[in-house]
Amino acid sequence: MGTLEGVSLMKGSSELVKGKSYTASELMAITTAKEFKDWEVAFVGIGIPLVAGILAKRFHAPNLSIVYESGCIGPEKYRVDFNVGDSSAADEALCLTSEWHVFGDLQAGYYDIGVLGGAQIDRFGNLNTTAIYGEGDYKRPKVRLPGSGGGNDIGSSVGRVVIMMRLEKHRFVPRVDFLTTPGFLDGTPGARERAGLLGGGPVAVVTSKCVFRFHPETREMYLDTIYPGVEVDEIRQSVGWDLLVANELKVAEDPGEAELAALRAADPANLIMGGAAARQKLSGLDEFLELTLKYAGK
């Protein structure tokens, strides 16, 4: 479905998790929301990461400031954005400035957390958003992806990175075809510093079935938290290397009703979270505009 592909960092889906009252996308958003701390400045893209940020602001991080690479700093979020340059990204912002200034501030260490996605990830958290080679190479890839955008910059310089990716074996690979965004590079001690990178690198990979974190010394991704009803073996089989598992594996809680309600309210036409079905349910632009105004209380 066009619109959804056009707006989401990841494809959303309306399909409920088996035996649950929420979708995998919703659980991912709510899990990611917990990664934001109050008073932080967050470099967040469009789609589910943004909804996660809005959710964090509604609950435990009311003073979270969201920054968009187009040049919008700290808007009030009354409406969802479909692009980082939508006029909505500027709604009542604390500061409206330039793209290059926002990237400069990222590089200067002013931003605490960023959220990224990718088509491929390796065990050291390196991301590929440029090309899937298949039988080809960089010049003639099987699938040409969008490119870095601001992803490389966030991965290079933000305080810590949270990655959101659907857990699928062709995504969790031993080695990414094209290293677009640095995680811990080859995983050797000081690899990021040697390359000249300033940011802290990835701290979590929030997937559709579990959360991975990174070992503080080996920098290798390990299974930290599984979602209710998911088996560890299922996760092992979705990862293209021999996965490490935390000694004390955590199990995520089901999201609360209040969180689910807030999440759904923040995306009133369900265009971000709802997957292919949502847009077809809308009668047209007018209904979308009405839902938007109603949620904003205007």
Binding site: V7, T97, E99, R144, P146, G149
Partner: protein
């Protein structure tokens, strides 16, 4: 670098595109999806301009149109896609299947390309950046040079100045001299206008110079960078223009649906671009009521 700094620079969109955008030119566009130069891109397609090199940050929607219409030979930029899941349909067909022609791609990050425009605007040969280090972007892009810091810090990447022949930038207000005022985010527009040899400003409203003088702090681009000023209300539609109208998520969805096939795209192109003599006809086809509804929504949130 403008060659025309004498007085009234007002033109029609047709005149401005024809005067400054030639086959084979390098070009950049203002905005960041929001404030996209949709009207100018439609006119470029109508005039059948070919072999453009587009140097830009993230420009999915208008690049998809330009590439599908066969206007672009090369892309130097950071992002062409909708989220991390894939390219826009025409871009995908061009890169993967050479339809309607192969698109040459040079990869940059958004910060990296931003520094290229800053260098170009300052008329410097290069800028340093701490992005792209350690990655395959640098491996495949020979114009990024990793150098030691002569002041003893860690290594940095150098990127060369971007100096496109033309910049097209849509703003909220301008006067006929070319003083261009922008509300909302400003992207890389101040530097693009300065870096380009020629700059075309399209705007929602041409206002008297006296009104520009009342809010000089809002002038992002001074007249001396500008060659042509064109009034094109709703010039970004279906993208948003802060303070004027919101994004039309449904129209864009329909476009994306149509453009899934080459035939669908060509039909769309015939209807909305070739089938419209100018931007006013396009607006009429979209429907003035629809545009008014988006203006109404925007003004509930942002007013200029």
């Amino acid at each position: 670098m403008t060659e025309n700094n004498h007085g009234n620079k007002r033109m029609t969109l047709r005149e401005a595109v024809s005067a400054y955008i030639k086959d084979g030119a390098s070009i950049t566009f203002g905005g960041f999806i929001g404030r996209d130069c949709v009207a100018a891109v439609h006119e470029i397609i109508r005039q059948g301009i070919k072999d453009l090199t587009v140097i830009d940050d993230s420009k999915t929607d208008i690049m998809d149109l330009l590439v599908g219409a066969g206007c672009v030979r090369r892309w130097e930029g950071a992002y062409l896609g909708y989220g991390a899941i894939g390219l826009a349909n025409n871009v995908r067909r061009a890169v993967e299947q050479g339809i309607p022609a192969t698109l040459e791609v040079e990869d940059w990050s958004n910060a990296g390309i931003s520094m290229r425009f800053l260098a170009g605007g300052l008329n410097l040969p290069f800028m340093a950046t701490r992005s792209m280090l350690g990655t395959d972007i640098i491996k495949y892009n020979e114009r990024i040079k990793v150098v030691d810091d002569p002041y003893g810090g860690s290594q940095v990447a150098l990127v060369p100045a971007a100096r496109p022949e033309v910049a097209v930038i849509h703003v909220q207000r301008a006067d006929v001299l070319g003083n261009a005022q922008v509300w909302g985010f400003t992207g890389n527009d101040e530097n693009k206008a300065r870096a380009a040899r020629h700059t075309i400003i399209t705007c929602e409203e041409i206002v008297p110079t006296e009104q520009i003088r009342r809010q000089g702090n809002m002038t992002l681009i001074p007249f001396y960078c500008v060659d042509a000023v064109v009034q094109v209300p709703y010039g970004c539609y279906p993208q948003s223009c802060y303070g004027f109208y919101s994004y039309d998520v449904m129209f864009c969805g329909d476009y994306h649906e149509m453009s899934k096939t080459r035939e669908g795209f060509l039909k769309w192109l015939d209807e909305y671009v070739h089938g419209c003599r100018d931007h006013n006809e396009y607006c009429a086809k979209v429907g003035w009521e629809r545009l008014q509804a988006l203006s109404h929504l925007e003004k509930q949130f942002n007013r200029i």
